[in-house]
Chain length 339, copies 2
Amino acid sequence: KTIALLPGDGIGPEITAPTVELLNELGEFAFEEHLFGGVSIDAHGTALTDEVTAACQRADAVLLAAVGGPKWDTTDPTKPRPEQGLLGLRKALGLYANLRPVRPVPALYDASPLKREIIDGTNLLVVRELTGGLYFGDRGRKDGSAWDTMIYSVEEIERIVRTAFQATRTKLTSVDKANVLESSRLWREVVLRIHAEEFPQIELEHVLVDNAAMQLVSNPTSFEVIVTENMFGDILSDEAAMLTGSIGLLPSASLGGDGPGLFEPVHGSAPDIAGKGIANPLAMFLSAALLLRHGFAMEAEASAVESAVDRALADGLRTADLGGSATTAEAAQAVLTNL
Amino acid sequence: KTIALLPGDGIGPEITAPTVELLNELGEFAFEEHLFGGVSIDAHGTALTDEVTAACQRADAVLLAAVGGPKWDTTDPTKPRPEQGLLGLRKALGLYANLRPVRPVPALYDASPLKREIIDGTNLLVVRELTGGLYFGDRGRKDGSAWDTMIYSVEEIERIVRTAFQATRTKLTSVDKANVLESSRLWREVVLRIHAEEFPQIELEHVLVDNAAMQLVSNPTSFEVIVTENMFGDILSDEAAMLTGSIGLLPSASLGGDGPGLFEPVHGSAPDIAGKGIANPLAMFLSAALLLRHGFAMEAEASAVESAVDRALADGLRTADLGGSATTAEAAQAVLTNL
Ligand SMILES: CC(C)[C@H](C(=O)O)[C@@H](O)C(=O)O
Ligand SMILES: CC(C)[C@H](C(=O)O)[C@@H](O)C(=O)O
């Protein structure tokens, strides 16, 4: 089985190396490493070359660390930007469904900004539409104005809503801004129809995005699965990530195409701590677990990684982002020991 | 001085009545009450009639409670909706600047979902652009798709950014999604230019909206003033509101036109508790304080209301949303006593 490996920028390479070690403990994989993001801009003038796109399409799964950094920050629309690689790859692989599970670990309740009684029992999944909306709509500048377009077709809404219903046991929360946006009104109509026709046994609620942003903080246990469009999902999943106290712990899976899925941590490339050997590799390990589960149907191995991470944390493992001083190498060792 | 009074729907009338009493203690005002929102739809088929628009334009300030409710919820674009009144009035009065101060009250730290050490010292202002972006861009449906347009002109960005800089003592945080959106890249360019040309002594930082959603929860004291576009501001200001433990405490001021400002609580019409006499009137009182301050330059009276609310809370006043059992009337009495 081939895994296309995209270490990317900043702390990316540091957290990729121990993840390869971890995966090698669990199975036989062929890793193919490629330049992606800022490092690809430096080498080839573009964040994602056609060769890398093709290599990812051929692979059985794609494991990505993080891209971006101040070096490539620009508001000049003619300059290449690392994020274009990420967006281009999502689109090229047809990854319309981004799954972000948020499950605060009891051992880390103290690291959360929220009170223990608020987070206790939180176990939610954000299902974010990933290849539509403001991210891919028409955009441009004209006469001193700039615009972006939030556009959704019925088919785009249907497929992500089905993915979300399928991931739901009892209650699905659909988040929109139907009191203002036309695309949200279409979204809500499609959600209502798919619910009635295909998933009537699942409880469905509609929550406006501003209200959802409040409830995620005040009452996170009220959510099981949240489904929403691309931009709202970007904001809400990062907000939800904070419930755990650190985004250094959160993995994501991007699925949907006929080809491989893409697995990556929710956090960014953290240029401020890059190269110091202190980055938290756990979100990357948990992304590898999602790769094993969703990419290769290796459920036992996926659970083993998740349990090993939980135990390492319960044993007191704390990297800098969690208020501790463990290095990347120490964190990796702690998880491997528990595996 | 004339105040156009728009009680609106749900709990609106219940929280408006004691606010009129409160204002009558502090000065001589002529109140003109108008139908607005759902009740206006019922009476006139539209959430905002031309007569009410004209009356608001003539007034010296507009005090609004809340609009909306399940009765008027619809995804049918041809049906009138209460929110259209709100959006129409903001546009008609040219209210491009929405100010939402968030200052958790020590007496209520226990009501906050956040840990005391996280919220302690939070004192931030969200400056939200209110008459542009996705709320007012071109929208529609075609061939099974629906779209909305996030559009900003240089002038629209300049004026809100100036308002925000003027409200800042030391540090302004501009929130955008410049790594994806063209309108955000224009936003960032204008912010940088206005900063360099007009406010070089103020510290400026740019934060991506997903990151801002995290930091508001994990590190709210890092913000002084946040400026952002309409949709992001809607989401982030409601999220920030939660820091206080209840949006029943948060006022807002919408300013910018040549005419009157509009003052309203951040919370909605709470149809579930309407008519029970248990709604929390404090956000409405604090909106009246903002009206006195920004609308009539009555700083002493504005501060008096704010102090009276603080003292009532310190004395133990708790409405249902704050975990207590005080009625609207008891809450109003507690504040009046402290005035
Ligand atoms: C880097 C950026 C383009 C990206 C996004 O907004 O999708 C990131 O924030 C994410 O959530 O994966
Ligand atoms: C009711 C709705 C249209 C409105 C908005 O989104 O602006 C409200 O949420 C607000 O923040 O004042």
